[in-house]
Each structure stands twice: as structure tokens, then as C-alpha cells.
């Protein structure tokens, strides 16, 4: 494969990147605005001998990919808010049983059926806390198709590295927009393959005993090691237990394996932050408009910058604090009522300097919207 210049929809870029990463099993259920991911994969996967299955709902879709991941495949499902709500119990299972998988949520306006064809970013906290119980999660996002390609590949890499579900939080604008993208050559982006056990047949294999580096080598279902997988608290062989010591050890392991690697997991881009007094923080399609504003103002000599987050969970609190150290004003741009705003306020030393520039009406937040809100924040009126 050589580098290819393409002009395509974000959902299609996601498909191309997933297959680049080694996806060969997809289960899903149609839902706007993610449907094109399923459509393209229904056509593309069988050409490489991969499998596409349309399940009866989103609950079944996430369960099916977990089953297929256990037999050794790279798996993904794609949905939007209402379907993401239904996937929460399966997501929790994948966290507990440590099953690598990628869940794409092309966000639309919520709550409930909401705005099926309008953009929103209201699922940021649901991605973090949607499934019950203490846990950790990885969620990535992107603001343009080139980054979307990279982040999709990264989602698969992180899922395999940390044996965890990874959520790819896109939005309607990104999913449906068409844009130029360079599809990279084979091997241009490193791929993480599943770590499989070297334990021989007949030797005691412990699927839930972490190595010294914290990783857990897997064994494919159908292979030579027969073990148990459960959503209950379990011992190192995967068998249910209520032993308080083991229960405590497992919940610490499940959260620490992510929390202790925030730096390694964090993905971001920065524009003109060195001398910026006003710092915009944004992500996903909103960051496109924020960047437009920053570029305009920078050209006029203003000390403005942009911190674009590409990983939302685990939230990079230290990074945000460090980057915003000298800021007089921090403006979080997002299409919700302040879900990342809350995290930024927690991160910085002067939370009173953090303001929100948002839009909630299913219309994409434009540079003009941000300019107008900024003028109001600065007391300059409309």
C-alpha cells in the first residue's frame, strides 16, 4: 500500500483507519449519524475475509464484539448517543473482563432521541461515567480527518496495550463532513498487536495475573488454554470471588492501569501557547472553529493560543494546569453545557478565569459564535 490522497467523509476515514489498524470484526446497529461506518464496513470487511454482523440492537452489538475479541480479533462497534446508552452494560463488562475493543460514538444532540442529524458533544461525561461502578476509561477524539485517521489507529493500539475498551468520541460534523485526507502507507503508523501468552499448553495459565509491566498476556478462546471470563470480581484465573483482598486488588488494578499512565495515553495539540494570555481549550469539531478564531487574532498580534485535546479520558489535568499557568483567561469551546469546562476548572489554579463558549441548539459552533461570546466575556458587548 502506498500513501493515498483521498476526499472522504469522516465516518469513512474512521473505517479506513480501523482497517489499517487491523479491524476484522464489526457488529453494529444502524443509527444516525454513525450509520455510514456500518455501511462501509459491510462492504469492506468481507473483501479481506473479515466479518460484519448487524445485530438486533446496540446491546447485542457491544456483546458480540466482546465475544469476537476473545477469539483473538480486533473489533469495533459504532453508534450515537441513544445506542451508546444501551451499550453501557457491555462497556462495563469489557472493562471488568479486560477485553480490548473500540466503541465509536458519533455524537448528536441529546438527551434521549434528541437531534439525530445535529452535532453535539454532550456524551463526554457519559463516556467517563456512563457504566456503573468505579472504573477508568480511555476516550479519544479528533477535529479533522487526518487526525481522525491517527486517533482511530491509536484507539486500537491503546485498547490492546491496556486490555481495555477505548471510546472514540466523534461528532456529527466530523462524521459527515468531507475533507482531504492522506491515507498513510502501510507501517507508517506503528500498530500494537495483541500480547499473547507464551505459557505452553498444560501449564497453568493465569489470564488475570499482570506481568511486572502491568500488561496481561491473553490467550484466544479456542486456543490451548481454557479459562473463565466473567463480569463478577474474579481471581487471576478468571473465577468469581468475593475475597475482599482480591476484590480490592482488582478494582485498584482496573483503575490504576489507566490512571498511572495518563501521560502515555494523553494526546493533544497546541497552537501558540508559549506567550498566550488567552487560551482556548477545545476538542472535536469545535476545535476547528476555535483554531480559526485563534489564527485570526494571532494574525492581529493578540496573545492567544489553543490547546486542542485529543484524549479526553483519562483527563490530562496536569497538562492543562501546566499549559494554562500564565493564562489570564481560559475559554473552553464545546457543544454542551460545560462537560470539559468542569474538568478544566478542576485542573487550573484559578478556576474563576475559566469561561465557556458553547452552543446547544444542534447548530455547529462557528468562529463568529466564539468571537461574539468572547466579546461578551471581555465586557465589550456584542
Amino acid at each position: 500500500m502506498t500513501e493515498t490522497l483521498a476526499f472522504m467523509q469522516g465516518n469513512e476515514v474512521c473505517v479506513e483507519a480501523a482497517m489499517y489498524a487491523g479491524l476484522d470484526f464489526f457488529a453494529g446497529y444502524p443509527i444516525t449519524p454513525s450509520t455510514e461506518i456500518a455501511e462501509h464496513l459491510a462492504r469492506r470487511l468481507p473483501t479481506i475475509g473479515g466479518k460484519y454482523i448487524q445485530m438486533e440492537d446496540e446491546i447485542a452489538s457491544v456483546c458480540a464484539i466482546i465475544g469476537a475479541s476473545l477469539t483473538g480479533h480486533k473489533v469495533m462497534t459504532a453508534t450515537s448517543g441513544p445506542g451508546f446508552s444501551l451499550m453501557q452494560e457491555g462497556l462495563g463488562f469489557a472493562i471488568m473482563a479486560e477485553i480490548p475493543c473500540v466503541i465509536v460514538n458519533v455524537q448528536r444532540g441529546g438527551p434521549s432521541t434528541g437531534l439525530p442529524t445535529g452535532p453535539g458533544q454532550g456524551d463526554v461525561l457519559q463516556a467517563r461515567w456512563g457504566t456503573h461502578g468505579d472504573h477508568a476509561i480511555i476516550a479519544l477524539t479528533a477535529s479533522n480527518h487526518q487526525d481522525l485517521f491517527t486517533m482511530t489507529v491509536e484507539a486500537f493500539n491503546l485498547a490492546e496495550t491496556y486490555r481495555t475498551p477505548v471510546i472514540l468520541l466523534l461528532d456529527e460534523v466530523l462524521g459527515h463532513m468531507r475533507e482531504r485526507v492522506v491515507l498513510p502507507e502501510k507501517n507508517a503508523i506503528p500498530l500494537v498487536q495483541r500480547l499473547r501468552t507464551s505459557v505452553k499448553a498444560g501449564v497453568d495459565y493465569r489470564p488475570y495475573l499482570p506481568r511486572d509491566d502491568g500488561r496481561l498476556p491473553m490467550s484466544d478462546f479456542g486456543g490451548e488454554h481454557r479459562y473463565n471470563v466473567t463480569g463478577l470480581y474474579h481471581d487471576m484465573w478468571g473465577f468469581p470471588t468475593t475475597n475482599p483482598k482480591i476484590v480490592h486488588g482488582l478494582i485498584r488494578h482496573l483503575t490504576d492501569k489507566i490512571r498511572n499512565n495518563v501521560k502515555e495515553i494523553t494526546r493533544y495539540k497546541e497552537y501558540y501557547l508559549e506567550d498566550a494570555r488567552t487560551i482556548f481549550i477545545s476538542y472535536g469539531s469545535s476545535a476547528r472553529s476555535a483554531l480559526h478564531v485563534v489564527n485570526n487574532r494571532k494574525a492581529r498580534g493578540e496573545r492567544v493560543g489553543l490547546l486542542e485535546l485529543q484524549s479526553l479520558w483519562p483527563f490530562p489535568y496536569s497538562l492543562v494546569a501546566e499549559k494554562c499557568d500564565h493564562a489570564r483567561l481560559i475559554v473552553v469551546v464545546e457543544m454542551n453545557m460545560g462537560q470539559v469546562l468542569l474538568q478544566v476548572k478542576r485542573a487550573v489554579s484559578h478556576p474563576d478565569r475559566v469561561m465557556l463558549a458553547n452552543r446547544l441548539d444542534g447548530v455547529f459552533i462557528s468562529p463568529t459564535d466564539i468571537q461574539n461570546i468572547l466579546r461578551l466575556i471581555q465586557g465589550k458587548g456584542v
Binding site: F25, I59, V75, G222, R226
Partner: protein, 267 residues
């Protein structure tokens, strides 16, 4: 291989109550596996949540103990991704037909080569005796103290109507028939369902004054009849046992192989 080679002996004694029928199902299942002589590494057992679903913990196979009602959805992912594996899904009645009802009918419709074993004890046992969609009108449960007004499903008819290729029913009294039916179901290429009436003396039996486990099994003997027998014609009031349907329909994973061929040809 000896029967004991199919179990994880260190987890015995099992968690089921004295008199529970599920241990009898486990016994018949193990004999079926022994007679089939399929290598253990080629079998994946997937279960959901409930008393019946704990069966996966006791068998020395690839075992996946999943979410309440969702076993068949997980199983679809396992089977579709590795069609050469045998996938067996033991389920309870509430697990399979209430919370898992949608997955059940769609698994039957798709006709993927999976064997579903519905251990029907007409009650939610793990949570302490609430009525299930198979308890039936007039039965009593902790959540139906004045008598149940919820009508029951007929698992076999539902599975047949939804498209399952093989559908059979037996009881824990009829252990040899149970083994034979499980063997036939696993050998069937397509979605197969074996409903097994199983006694829950602790809850269903107690709430409905059905006596001991032995009394309940005696009832399975006297209240059922072989499907297609002369006695069955004379006694329409009795519950049918045996194979209700055994038909060949295109199996999902095999059909998908044809899709792969078409896609590779660029059609």
C-alpha cells in the same frame, strides 16, 4: 475421556440448592460431551446471569460468563469470528426469555450454529423466587403473592416460530433423553434449542406447594408425554417431550462465507 475430565473439580460442591435440577442438567450435558468426544479446546460455553448460568464455572471448557440475558449476543460474536468452534449456551428461563427475549428470537431467526439449553425452572432463583415469564398464570412467587396474572411463553413454539432449526423439550426426570437431545442439538447445523424443565424446590416448589424435589420430578414424569405418541393424542393436557422440529435451513456463518467469496470477486 472420563466424565470428571470435563469438570473443574476444585469448584465442587456446586452452589446450587439441595434438590435443584440444574446439577442433573450438568450431568446430562457432560455425558453428551463425552459421547460426542469433541476436543475440549473446540468448545466455548457462554452463559448469562442466574442460577443456571453458573454452570459455566464448573465445566473445563472455554467459558464466558456474561451479562443477564445477553449470552446469545456474546455467543454470536464468538461463533461468527471462529465458526469452527462449538458454542453452547445454557440459560435460565428469565435469562433467555425475559431480559434476553429479543436476543433469543433473533438468534433463532439468524440460525447461527449455536446450541441453546434453556433450563426452565419457572422462577428467578438467584434473586429469591420472583415470577418469570414462564411461571404461568395462577402460580405464586414473592412478587406474585396473590397469584400470577402474567401469561407464560411456550419456549418451544416461540423458538420454532422465530426460525430455530432444531427444537426439543425434556425434563430432569428424563436424563437419558436429555443427553440424547443435547447430542442431537449440538450435532444440528443451525440454531438449536433444548428446553429442559428443571425443578426449583427452594422457591417455585415451596411457593406453589409442590412438595420435595422428588415430588417435583415425579410430576415431570406424570405430566409429560412423548410428542407424537398415541398417549399424546389421547392426552392433549400433557406437556410434550421430544423433538418438535429438526429442519435444515441455511446456517448463518456458512452463508457469510458466500458473502466473503462474492466480496472478494468484487461483485
Amino acid at each position: 475421556m472420563a466424565i470428571k475430565d470435563y469438570i473443574r473439580q476444585r469448584f465442587f460442591p456446586h452452589i446450587w440448592c439441595p434438590g435443584c435440577g440444574h446439577g442433573i442438567v450438568l450431568n446430562s450435558l457432560l455425558h453428551a460431551l463425552d459421547q460426542l468426544a469433541i476436543p475440549k479446546n473446540d468448545i466455548v460455553m457462554v452463559s448469562g446471569i442466574g442460577c443456571s448460568s453458573r454452570i459455566t464455572g464448573y465445566v473445563d471448557l472455554h467459558t464466558l460468563h456474561t451479562l443477564h440475558g445477553r449470552a446469545l449476543a456474546f455467543a454470536a460474536g464468538v461463533k461468527m469470528s471462529r465458526p469452527e468452534l462449538h458454542v453452547i449456551v445454557p440459560m435460565g428461563d428469565g435469562d433467555a426469555l425475559s431480559i434476553g427475549g429479543n436476543h433469543f428470537i433473533h438468534a433463532a431467526r439468524r440460525n447461527m450454529d449455536i446450541t441453546a439449553i434453556v433450563m426452565n425452572n419457572q422462577i428467578y432463583g438467584m434473586t429469591g423466587g420472583q415470577f418469570s415469564p414462564l411461571s404461568g398464570c395462577g402460580s405464586k412467587a414473592t412478587t406474585a403473592p396473590f397469584g400470577n396474572i402474567d401469561r407464560a411463553f411456550d419456549v418451544a413454539q416461540l423458538a420454532m416460530a422465530a426460525g430455530a432449526g432444531f427444537v426439543a423439550r425434556t425434563t430432569t426426570y428424563h436424563v437419558k433423553q436429555m443427553t440424547d437431545l443435547i447430542i442431537e442439538a449440538i450435532n444440528h447445523k443451525g440454531f438449536s434449542v433444548v428446553e429442559i424443565l428443571s425443578q426449583c424446590p427452594t422457591y417455585f416448589g415451596k411457593h406453589n406447594n409442590l412438595g420435595s424435589a422428588v415430588d417435583m420430578m415425579e410430576y415431570f414424569k406424570t405430566s409429560t408425554v412423548s410428542a407424537g405418541s398415541d398417549e399424546a393424542t389421547d392426552r392433549p393436557d400433557l406437556i410434550r417431550r421430544g423433538v418438535f422440529v429438526n429442519r435444515h435451513s441455511p446456517e448463518y456463518c456458512s452463508e457469510y462465507e458466500k458473502i466473503i467469496e462474492k466480496a472478494k470477486e468484487g461483485i
